[in-house]
């Protein structure tokens, strides 16, 4: 009887511990991010700092998409944080290359930067059309497009083998094959860029790029917030950067946001 009571007591204590400590522990370690609607609400109310923090929390929780980066960029821009806003817009652009509002706001913000950076000329004709298609799809869409074209190509091949190659089917197969090849080249370029090319945006109002990785090196250029740079290497808190006009230099890692 005594043993039975002891058993009941231990069980009750365990259940109480489980019931009491687990939620307590959860409250202490897990931070539930605000909902997107909540963040939008802050933005609509003009509480821009809270909106930016809310968007950032959602992004930090692992929910990453172009719209969140765009919204965060807007909240930052309206607070006057030009460099950080452009950084978020650039991040959003990887997800939403066709989103007109994003491009508009990015251009708007770029127009306010001090540094004017060269942009490549537009190509024309077929090359321009293909480049347009290339730049209008994000990596994910490119991958799905290639997968879809691959499926269609396979189905067409199988159809042709078993039903015979009519003129229409042959023409369709060639067209799909051409699109597939273009898609594969475009997607390969995007994957290589995604995996190997690192870019960043200056987020400090004004910084001096140095000739070496340290404050004691002589300056090579003065850069301002919002300027997009290509990243070379990291060394002891410093980053080697390169501008489109081939100016290179080292800047402190703290002054740079990675896209």
């Amino acid at each position: 009887m005594t043993r039975q009571r002891l058993g009941i007591g231990i069980t009750a204590f365990f259940l109480l511990w489980v019931g009491g400590t687990l939620p307590l522990g959860a409250q202490q370690t897990v931070t539930v991010p605000p909902s997107v609607e909540e963040a939008h609400g802050y933005y609509e109310d003009g509480r821009l700092n809270e909106a930016a923090q809310a968007y950032q929390s959602i992004l930090d929780s692992g929910v990453t998409n172009g719209w969140l980066h765009y919204d965060l960029g807007n909240a930052l821009f309206r607070q006057g944080k030009l460099g950080e806003a452009i950084l978020e817009y650039e991040r959003a652009l990887r997800y939403l290359p066709r989103f007109g509002d994003l491009r508009h706001n990015l251009e708007y913000a770029r127009n306010l930067t001090v540094d004017e950076v060269l942009r490549p000329a537009k190509s024309e004709g077929v090359v321009g059309f293909v480049y347009d298609l290339h730049s209008k799809l994000n990596l994910r869409e490119s991958l799905w497009t290639v997968a879809l074209l691959w499926w269609i190509f396979v189905i067409l091949l199988i159809l042709g083998w078993f039903t015979g190659w009519s003129d229409r089917l042959t023409w369709l197969r060639r067209a799909v094959m051409a699109l597939l090849l273009i898609g594969m080249v475009s997607t390969t370029i995007k994957i290589i860029q995604f995996e190997t090319v690192q870019e960043g945006v200056i987020i400090a109002p004004e910084i001096e790029a140095k000739t070496g990785p340290g404050a004691d090196y002589s300056p090579t250029a003065v850069l301002h917030e919002g300027t997009k740079v290509r990243i070379g290497e990291f060394r002891s808190g410093w980053v080697r950067i390169r501008l489109p006009n081939n100016i290179t230099g080292w800047i402190s890692r703290d002054n740079l946001g990675l896209i």
Partner: protein, 595 residues
């Protein structure tokens, strides 16, 4: 299928914002005045208020007397700025055209168009003057234009300064090119300190030709040294009165090699300025000297009473363009005439002034009828040919019809309507909606599902290819088809034979024999007729069947034949089942034999 692609193309083009682009065109001539045989470069800049569209190539007008050749596409610019109406993104590109003329004259190049989407823009007109090709000079031989080296006039550094001129005699109003020129050893460097031509040419209008400095090496060495002639500039004198034009020495100070100061004076000379001849001088000669062409015309040859026409008279050529006396413009009492306007376009070249003068007068007919305004006439003196030349236009005839009043009505009807214009753009709002909360991964290729999505069609393709090849071989290769189908056919016959075991022993035996012989014939592609008990053993041994099995088959075939022709009613069922079992066993053994 074709229509699907067309639709996709349309969607893509529309998504690029083609239809909503605002387009602007501007045209600029590098040289407004050229001579026959020369080319004028026309730069047409097309600007599109969108960075998604490449500025299109413009459409060039057809102008009699001019031909346009596309030379190259020029620079491409893209920019964004905050305009008065808001944020603007635009792209512009210039296109260079080369214009050549088939006849001299004055041309208005208008109607250069560019279209982007549903918008078309036209460039403002630009004017081009085409002069006659240069004439062979029929003047006296040149004296001063030659470099006359005079060591006595050289300074200590071997430097000489002079004014070069082409001939000694000119007519009043004729341009006199004068070239202040240094002559010095090739290795010297000279910087001019002081040089002033003010009031040095009394009785002349003086003009300096821009960017006219020239440096040329002399063909003959001086004192054994290579010399250069450095023409500082070219100035054009227009003598205003006849007589002797005395050019006094002109001083100039300069540094040699950047350190040594020196000074020189040009040699004095005298030019003769002649008045235009009195002999043969027309009464209406008003003082124009040079070579010119005349064009005259009206913009409307038929018009209504009260409607305005513009009469234009253009003089094109070289001479004292800027001081050219105007021609007598035609008039008629039936026309109300307004004050003429004058438009001069001229270039100062090393040989004088070239260009065109356009006189325009607005005329409004006050009564209807046919009117002959006559010819426009103009007289000038050609100093090269030393004679007076009269130019005459074609007669100008105007038809004036009664006023209808429709024009005013049209204007009234079209009033009050205008295109909707964008008043301004500003920062765009946040994006909301269900998708904003979704996690999106860009590098799908890092996950297994996407890899499977890619690999599965490949596997499917390989499987389909193997199947396809097999189907092809089955269709083309009869032996292969028989070999492949033999087991199934044998199983089917065996099944039929089994159903006959209890009913008809003889028939069952025949079916079992057929099962065996058909299988062997199909499997090894031999004629079924040749498979008899006497030959089967050898045939099977030839295709690699073991002697034991071959022997069993021969024995079975004999037993089956016996069962067909010597069936015993007492033991029919038992014997038949045994035969069936043996056939089944032997078929099983044969199926295991590798070909």
């Amino acid at each position: 299928m074709r229509s699907i692609f067309v639709h996709i193309l349309v969607i893509v083009l529309c998504s690029a914002g083609l239809a909503s682009a605002q387009v602007e065109v501007a045209a600029e001539l590098q040289n407004n005045i050229i001579r026959m045989g020369e080319i004028a470069n026309l730069e047409v800049t097309v600007t599109v208020k969108s960075t998604d569209i490449n500025p299109p190539q413009p459409e060039m007008p057809t102008i009699p007397g001019l031909s346009f050749g596309f030379y190259k596409a020029g620079a491409f610019y893209q920019k964004s700025y905050l305009g008065p109406g808001g944020f603007v993104s635009q792209a512009s590109r210039s296109y260079i055209y080369q214009i050549s003329a088939t006849k001299p004259g004055s041309y208005d190049i208008k109607g250069i168009k560019a279209t982007a989407g549903n918008q078309t823009a036209t460039a403002p007109p630009v004017s081009l003057t085409v002069l006659e090709a240069p004439q062979q000079q029929n003047a006296e031989p040149s004296h001063g234009d030659e470099i006359r080296i005079d060591p006595s006039r050289m300074d200590q550094y071997g430097i000489q300064f002079d004014l070069r001129y082409e001939q000694n005699t000119y007519y009043i109003g004729q341009p006199i090119p004068i070239k202040p020129t240094f002559v010095y050893p090739n290795r010297r460097a000279i910087q001019i300190e002081e040089y002033n031509l003010d009031n040095k040419f009394p009785g002349c209008l003086v003009k300096s030709v821009p960017d006219s400095r020239e440096r040329a090496r002399l063909a003959q060495p001086v004192n054994g040294n290579a010399y250069v002639a450095d023409t500082i500039e070219t100035i054009i004198l227009y003598p205003l009165a006849p007589g002797q034009l005395k050019i006094e020495p002109i001083p100039i100070s300069y540094f040699v090699g950047g350190r040594y100061r020196s000074m020189a004076r040009s040699a004095p000379f005298v030019l003769n300025v002649l008045d235009v001849p009195t002999e043969g001088r027309p009464e209406d000669f008003s003082g124009a000297v040079g070579t010119f062409q005349l064009e005259a015309g009206v913009d409307l040859a038929t018009l209504e009473v009260g409607q305005a026409l513009t009469l234009s008279v253009t003089l094109v050529g070289e001479g004292n363009i800027d001081q050219l006396p105007p021609p007598k413009l035609p008039s008629d009492p039936a026309f109300e005439r307004y004050e003429p306007s004058t438009d001069i376009k001229s270039d100062l070249t090393r040989n004088g002034t070239v260009g065109r003068v356009r006189y325009e007068v607005l005329m409004v007919p006050r009564e209807e009828g046919e009117f002959d305004l006559g010819k426009v006439s103009y007289v000038f003196f050609d100093p090269h040919k030393e004679k007076f030349v009269r130019l005459e236009s074609k007669p100008i005839r105007i038809t004036v019809t009664p006023a209808t009043g429709h024009r005013g009505e049209r204007i009234a009807l079209s009033g009050g309507r205008r295109e909707i214009e964008l008043s301004g753009e500003d920062f765009r709002h946040i994006a909301t909606g269900p998708k904003t909360g979704q996690a999106i991964k860009l590098n799908l290729y890092a996950g297994p599902i996407f890899i499977l999505v890619l690999i599965f069609p490949a596997v499917l393709l390989v499987g389909a290819w193997v199947w396809h090849r097999r189907a092809l071989r089955l269709a083309e290769d009869e032996g292969f088809a028989r070999t492949v189908r033999a087991p199934k056919a044998a199983q089917r016959l065996l099944k039929d034979a089994r159903s006959l075991l209890e009913k008809d022993v003889a028939e069952a035996g025949a079916l079992l024999e057929k099962t065996l012989t058909d299988y062997i014939a199909d499997r090894w592609t031999v004629p079924a007729r040749g498979i008899t008990s006497s030959e089967v053993e050898k045939s099977l041994s030839d295709v690699g069947v073991s002697p034991e099995i071959a022997s069993d088959i021969r024995q079975l075939l004999e037993d089956l034949a016996r069962s067909r022709y010597a069936a015993s009613p007492d033991n029919d069922g038992m014997a038949a089942r045994q035969l069936y079992q043996r056939t089944e066993d032997i078929l099983g053994a044969l199926m295991k034999v590798k070909s």
